[in-house]
Symmetry: C2
DNA sequence: GTAGGTGCAAAATTTTTGCATGTTA
DNA sequence: TAACATGCAAAAATTTTGCACCTAC
């Protein structure tokens, strides 16, 4: 249960430690590595506390991202996905079925050559590789998909 | 006016060449490099053809992405951005003001080591670097911005 | 007790869909 | 003219906001 550190950080930062905040942290912990959308997190939180509202979950997720406890991902399907305390990594997304896999490829993309940086201070990177997962790729050699 | 090639491709693929398709292509051409959202493209199209509907623009943008004439980007603000015929490149996004700059960094990320690929066939990559643009970075050393 | 947090409901955005009508080839 | 494309309006889905009430400290 790693969420203890995040709870301490809430306390130290002057935020209150509420049951809702604890529940979101625990849900993120339980879903670590599964790239949950806000609705997935809400669903898990509601298994214990059915009256928690979407607004609260969104507010807490934003806080956690601001605090650096979590990161928001854009995997191309129009909703935000969340990761708690992630080891930096890239993602493989199947454009056919939407499957997402972590890609533990160590690229330190924050070290952009100064010449190209346009004065930006780069603090994070998001790398998404798009393609076909094995299952969706298999039928493709002999038959080009209609879409 | 590079959209001529795309128009030819429409004709060859059995799609009809409609004024709406031509207008979307010309808008994408005019906005090349500006990372327009669908609403930006619609607004430009409507300067010439006020009755074009959002649904039509979305349908045409999807077609163009499927045809490989354009790409959709996720820059982290909840709406899709579009680029026509882009040279592959990464993006710098300012997390404070939302400014987006191209980053002409030649990384061939589709060459993922086999060991890590998990069987995926990788066809494209999206690299987004997040940080602070020069303007938003400047005041930060002495004063943390309120937003 | 008070500052801050939450639930609810409504709104705002973006994107999709159904269907009657219009248009390209 | 026949298949395809569009406009319109409504729906869907996600995320944000206003406000009265509640609670952690």
């Amino acid at each position: 249960m790693n969420s203890a550190a995040a709870i301490r950080r809430y306390r130290r930062s002057g935020h209150k430690v509420t049951p809702q905040r604890v529940a979101v942290l625990r849900a993120l912990e339980a879903l670590r590595g599964r790239h949950p959308a806000a609705s997935d997190i809400l669903a898990l939180v509601r298994r214990e506390q059915p009256r928690v509202s979407p607004a609260t979950v969104y507010r807490i997720l934003h806080e956690l991202c601001d605090m650096g406890q979590a990161v928001a991902l854009d995997l191309g399907d129009g909703r935000a996905r969340f990761d708690i305390n992630p080891v930096p990594h890239a993602h493989l997304v199947c454009e056919a079925c939407g499957r997402v896999e972590d890609l533990l490829w160590s690229l330190d993309l924050t070290r952009v050559p100064d010449r190209l940086r346009k004065g930006f201070l780069v603090t994070g990177a998001q790398v998404t590789l798009v393609g076909r997962c094995p299952a969706c790729h298999r039928g493709e050699v002999t038959a080009i998909p209609s879409g």
